[in-house]
């Protein structure tokens, strides 16, 4: 029982990370109808920026909470630049093109980003000393002590805060309205005087920022990163986005939590080696049988 609860805690933590990445996928898909294949690598870049910032700030004597805040903002800022640039270079020129063109371009961009980081930072894995340690223990008297680390609490709370902020942004502000308008009918939105290019750019910026937060969490949680983490995390986060319903923000977070839980429970109870197969299998099953996901809108093709 205690083991179950521990996996539950671990799964929710992992799920929060996936959820934040998934939001980027779902928002971009909602607004321009493409899968941003390079989004996982944006997450990876966020992790690297966070790592570098942690190392630099670690040399100063600044207090930990301030470091966390600074690294958060720095990672978001710099990673947003990446997201913005990728959109301008690789997707914007292809907006009218045939269906597969942006996907292939995204694939190319993903390859570029991965190898760019590999060249610039070296192919070795990058470890980091744990910054946040310790936690709360439960069920101290049973065979298995459940530990909820402070880091896990930090991750979940940060995720909740960000979700709150961005949900407010989407539903209550002008930007959110513009975004939803673009999702429905881009031409009409432009005719109404809304700067569609800017709205799309901002969508990418938001998605990338959230992915960078996930990157920072990843660095803290796992303590080691390399240039390849974007690929796997990207696929799983995309699965999460589809599972929750592509185009739906709460769906992305819901999907993320589910994937995090599925992966953790599978690794914990069935098989560690095949945990990625579990994620991929879920992806395939979902796409075949539930393409609209839990909270998504059905896609009717007009004849």
């Amino acid at each position: 029982m205690e083991y179950f609860i521990q996996q539950l805690v671990n799964g929710i933590t992992l799920g929060s990370i996936y959820g934040l990445i998934a939001i980027g996928y779902t928002m971009v898909y909602g607004i321009i109808g493409m899968i941003n294949f390079a989004h996982g690598d944006i997450f990876m870049i966020g992790a690297f920026v966070a790592l570098i910032s942690f190392i630099i700030f670690g040399l100063t004597g600044v207090a930990l909470p301030i470091i966390l805040l600074l690294v958060l903002l720095i990672a978001m800022l710099f990673t947003a630049c990446y997201g913005w640039t990728v959109e301008k270079l690789a997707y914007k020129p292809l907006r009218g093109s045939f269906r597969l063109a942006p996907l292939i371009s995204a694939l190319g961009m993903s390859i570029v980003l991965q190898n760019y980081v590999q060249v610039a930072q070296g192919a070795r894995v990058k470890p980091m000393q744990p910054l946040i340690s310790g936690g709360l223990e439960f069920f101290k008297n049973s065979d298995f002590i459940v530990t909820v680390s402070y880091l896990q609490i930090f991750i979940v709370i940060l995720t909740i805060i960000l979700m709150g902020i961005f949900t407010y942004l989407i539903t209550k502000t002008d930007l959110g309205r513009a975004q939803r308008a673009c999702e429905q009918d881009r031409t009409m939105t432009a005719l109404l005087g809304i700067n569609v290019d800017r709205t799309i750019s901002i969508t990418f910026i938001i998605g990338s920022s959230l992915a960078s937060v996930a990157g920072m969490m990843f660095v803290l949680y796992y303590g080691v990163i390399d240039f390849y983490i974007g690929f796997l995390a990207g696929i799983k986060a995309f699965t999460a986005a589809v599972l929750g319903g592509i185009g739906s923000l709460p769906g992305a977070m819901l999907g993320g939590l589910l994937i995090g839980l599925i992966e953790t429970f599978w690794a914990g109870y069935v098989s560690l080696e095949y945990k990625d197969v579990a994620a991929f299998s879920v992806l395939i099953v979902v796409l075949i049988f539930f393409p609209t996901g839990f909270l998504g809108k059905p896609d009717i093709e007009k004849v």
């Binding site: 493409m34 899968i35 870049i45 690297f48 920026v49 790592l51 570098i52 910032s53 190392i55 630099i56 800022l77 710099f78 630049c81 640039t85 270079l89 690789a90 292809l94 093109s97 045939f98 269906r99 597969l100 063109a101 942006p102 996907l103 292939i104 371009s105 694939l107 190319g108 961009m109 993903s110 390859i111 570029v112 980003l113 991965q114 190898n115 760019y116 980081v117 590999q118 060249v119 610039a120 930072q121 070296g122 192919a123 070795r124 990058k126 470890p127 000393q129 696929i235 080696e273 095949y274 990625d276 197969v277 991929f280 299998s281 992806l283 395939i284 796409l287 075949i288 393409p291 093709e301």
Partner: protein, 422 residues
């Protein structure tokens, strides 16, 4: 050109420089390296300023060009002319290429290294032609093609090492297995839309790879399968000292023993396999099923309204593409004599997709050129391994942005009512 244009270009370039600084500053400028248990940072500002400078300059030049209202169509013009010439002389080009390929092993400068590169290029050409059926003709973006390559290689390896049957029996069997896999895979997923199909096939490719790594009992896991029988010249093995009762190749033909014999044989083998793939594709384009593939790629709803069964048609493309991938896999297994899951990563799928796309979806000649370019030239610059991948990915993006139909995309009808007009 007006002054305000120049000022605007200048401002633009500065903005670009700023963004470039944000991009390259942390990742390139602050390189992390291991020291003991931790990491330390090595600043590399020189490189950063160089890159930022290039970006600013580049942006400025592009802006000047646009302001002068002359488009940078150099790339487009070049490729259009190129494809016009090659289309015109397509037959001549093909015959010349085949003749060249036929005599290649006997050219004076061709040593072991060149032969190996040539064999690799031909393998990718065959894979490209195989995937071309799925992606180029039928328009199904398969990002997991390497799975069929792997199934072919592993089936061949397992059958050959377990039963000891000859290459000529194992090869077709491997192809059949791969085709079967193609149907198995294709059946549930082919009704999915383009981008979803791509991701699912990617997922399948990865699942296969993970299974290959972990299913020790059958695939030997990461250690791979060794001792795959080398090919023989229709029964004559390429051995320096043959076993009892066997004559080896060099003895039969009264030649000095050389490892090159086997290499040359392998070269011709892959050349023939590739040409068979090509011939098959050219022929099937003219048959109803080939036309149906292209029609499905153009407009699936229209196809349905004409009574074409989209699922069966797509499944056929998938299975046939898989089969050729399987054949290529068999060849790979016998050439290497050793296979492991490391050869079958997602990057391989991406490379093959890149070859098909860069060459122009559906263009056979384009696949050849793209293979030679991508594999050949980057083989020469092996040391710059990661740079070549950056160039790779960059090329994919550039081609999509400037010439989405690929370098050589120019479709000729498969059948003419009025015959050749020339």
């Amino acid at each position: 050109m007006e002054k305000k244009d120049i000022i605007q270009s200048f401002k633009d370039s500065l903005f670009t420089g700023l963004i470039a600084l944000a991009l390259f500053g942390p990742i390139v400028g602050l390189r992390t390296a291991s020291k003991g248990e931790g990491l330390f940072i090595t600043p590399q500002w020189g490189v950063v300023f160089l890159l930022v400078g290039l970006c600013i300059l580049g942006r400025f030049l592009i802006n000047l060009n646009s302001a002068r209202k002359t488009e940078i169509t150099f790339f487009s013009k070049f490729t259009s002319k190129f494809s016009a010439i090659t289309e015109d002389k397509a037959k001549h080009f093909a015959i010349t290429a085949i003749l060249f390929a036929a005599v290649f092993p006997f050219l004076p400068f061709t040593d072991r290294y060149f032969m190996d590169v040539a064999i690799m290029i031909l393998t990718y050409i065959m894979l490209g032609w195989g995937l071309n059926i799925v992606v180029g003709l039928a328009g199904l973006l398969d990002l997991g093609y390497v799975a069929f390559y792997a199934v072919g290689a592993y089936s061949y390896a397992l059958i050959a090492t377990t039963f000891g049957w000859s290459f000529w029996i194992c090869l077709p069997l491997a192809g059949v297995f791969a085709a079967f896999f193609g149907i198995l895979l294709g059946f549930p997923v082919l009704r999915l839309r383009g981008d979803y199909l791509a991701i699912v096939t990617l997922g399948f490719g990865e699942i296969i790879r993970i299974i290959l790594i972990n299913w020790y009992e059958v695939t030997n896991g990461p250690d791979g399968i060794t001792g795959i029988p080398r090919p023989s010249f229709f029964g004559l093995p390429f051995k320096r000292s043959p076993d009892e009762g066997e004559t080896s190749f060099h003895l039969f033909f009264n030649l000095e023993y050389s490892t090159m014999h086997r290499i040359v044989f392998l070269y011709y083998l892959i050349l023939v396999l590739a040409l068979i793939t090509n011939y098959f594709t050219l022929k099937i384009r003219k048959l109803p099923v080939g036309r149906a593939w292209e029609a499905l790629r153009e407009d699936e709803i229209a196809c349905k309204s004409l009574g074409v069964n989209p699922t069966n048609t797509k499944l056929t493309a998938f299975a046939i593409g898989a089969m050729f991938g399987g054949f290529a896999g068999s060849f790979f297994a016998t050439r290497q004599a050793f296979i492991s899951p490391e050869s079958f990563t997602f990057i391989e799928s991406a490379i093959i997709v890149a070859i098909v796309v860069l060459g122009g979806m559906g263009s056979q000649t384009g696949v050849v050129l793209a293979s030679i370019f991508l594999i050949g030239i980057t083989e020469m610059f092996r040391d710059l391994e990661q740079y070549r991948m950056i160039a790779f990915g960059g090329a994919m993006v550039l081609i999509m942005v400037f010439k989405p139909k690929g370098i050589l995309a120019n479709r000729k009808p498969t059948i003419l009512m009025h015959g050749d007009k020339k």
